[in-house]
Symmetry: C2
Subunit: 310 residues, 2 copies
Amino acid sequence: MKKYCFGIDIGGTTVKCGLFNVDGEVLDKWEIKTRTENNGENIIADIAETMNAKIAEKGLDKEEIVGAGVGVPGPADEEGNVPVAVNLHWGFVPLSKELSEKTGLAVRVGNDANVAALGEMWKGGAVGYHNVVMVTLGTGVGGGIIINGKIVTGSNGAGGEIGHIHVTDSVDKPCNCGNTGCLEQVASATGVVYLANKKLASCDTPSVLRDGEVSAKSVFDAVKAGDAVAQEIAEEFGRYLGLACANIAGVVDPQVFVIGGGVSKAGKILFDYIEKYYKKYAFPSCKDAKFALATLGNDAGIYGAAKLML
Amino acid sequence: MKKYCFGIDIGGTTVKCGLFNVDGEVLDKWEIKTRTENNGENIIADIAETMNAKIAEKGLDKEEIVGAGVGVPGPADEEGNVPVAVNLHWGFVPLSKELSEKTGLAVRVGNDANVAALGEMWKGGAVGYHNVVMVTLGTGVGGGIIINGKIVTGSNGAGGEIGHIHVTDSVDKPCNCGNTGCLEQVASATGVVYLANKKLASCDTPSVLRDGEVSAKSVFDAVKAGDAVAQEIAEEFGRYLGLACANIAGVVDPQVFVIGGGVSKAGKILFDYIEKYYKKYAFPSCKDAKFALATLGNDAGIYGAAKLML
């Protein structure tokens, strides 16, 4: 009988690993370094080695293990191939096949943002829902779309690339993707700093943000302290993110939006700004969609990866 | 052995009916009137009667019939209940259950716009694709999203309500949905007329559109004839629709957008305007999505309904 499953989340610096039971309890959790040198040629062997070592350490029988789910920072196809993963220095890598050969286990592969969304649905901020949109507000804005419990991968692996929804004509500087006016430019941690600097330059209103370095954290701390300029910045942030979520709802009509990533550490105060504009722009029957904070933090990837396999 | 299937498309004026073989060939096609009086209480009985009559006429055995798929102008849940369908004067109707009882056949129900998308995927403009977005440019703008061959119904039956994606702050008049700046206000047949009248009022440039009544057809006829004002109107139309499609691609990353409805009779010239802006706004890996014209016209509903069952 199958009792265990691995969840592996490959990042550009570390590979996060989890050993789960089939009920989704994490039995052990550890990290190894991601060796990206020589086009990342050691990454798969390193993962196989740490998995095999864990199996030996715990005295497990491979027959008891369902397999390993793996999240990667790039697109992944249905066969578990990774066409390209810039942060791993990978070109085309048949990840599922190679890791399976080196471990004797079944392997499934998904994009890390999508896999994190699956993790939050399974054991995090979206437990009990099966139509979920995850919005990760980090250095950039990532996303994952879950319909009827399944990840929407997209035809080019670009399902859930919601950071590049066009939300404004007011930004001139190009986004990393080459377009301009992407959600990521105005709603990521970097985007909040961009909005803050623009606002501070456009007015003389006193603000605590004029002392010291501006960050997404300092902006939302100032919002909580009642700083008027910070609140105007939060309004603009909320308008863009609320608009994007409303437009996403007009496509897939989710039950819940789960907000994660560094910016989400500001907490529920974000929802005051996001939901205000979400309700303004959303199609009437979608206006009551829930907003929830992600709860798994950096572990969303290993949870979602395990769920991918289960 | 199962050989046949019904496809039924309930509209506010007529019920379109098709008898198909399981390969998707239409064997017979007819219409009955939709009797909406008395809260539409006769509609289901009328459909059952026409189906049973057709079975008798063709000398079919019910054992040979897979069942009936039905498209309705409103949301439908997984059990085939219709919570409300304004154009049929229906409140909550357990359509699948009632039609099944009256015919002895299995019945599946879907929203008409979603079902039409399925029809175009199966036998129309999107044959060979399984990730499809249909955009219907009629009096309003409807939509249907197909992921891995399955309709995205949404949590509130609002999957594919792309006519209400917010695309502009430049419209003051409210949309039928209550919001402002919806795609439907600037890209439906009515929306094209709105853009045309606004443009004609804002300039003195000579245009054939200044003679006679403006319609979506007259605008695109003038575009084809080289009318400069009409071409500017088409640019604005294309910008809004291209932007909306780009933002949809950032959510579900389809292989193809199928454009149908009355406005699509203008033909492939639409794509010159839509794709220009689609490519401007879409995330790089989605920029090569195909655009195709719908080919089934008013029959998309019966085809899609049959496919719902097969």
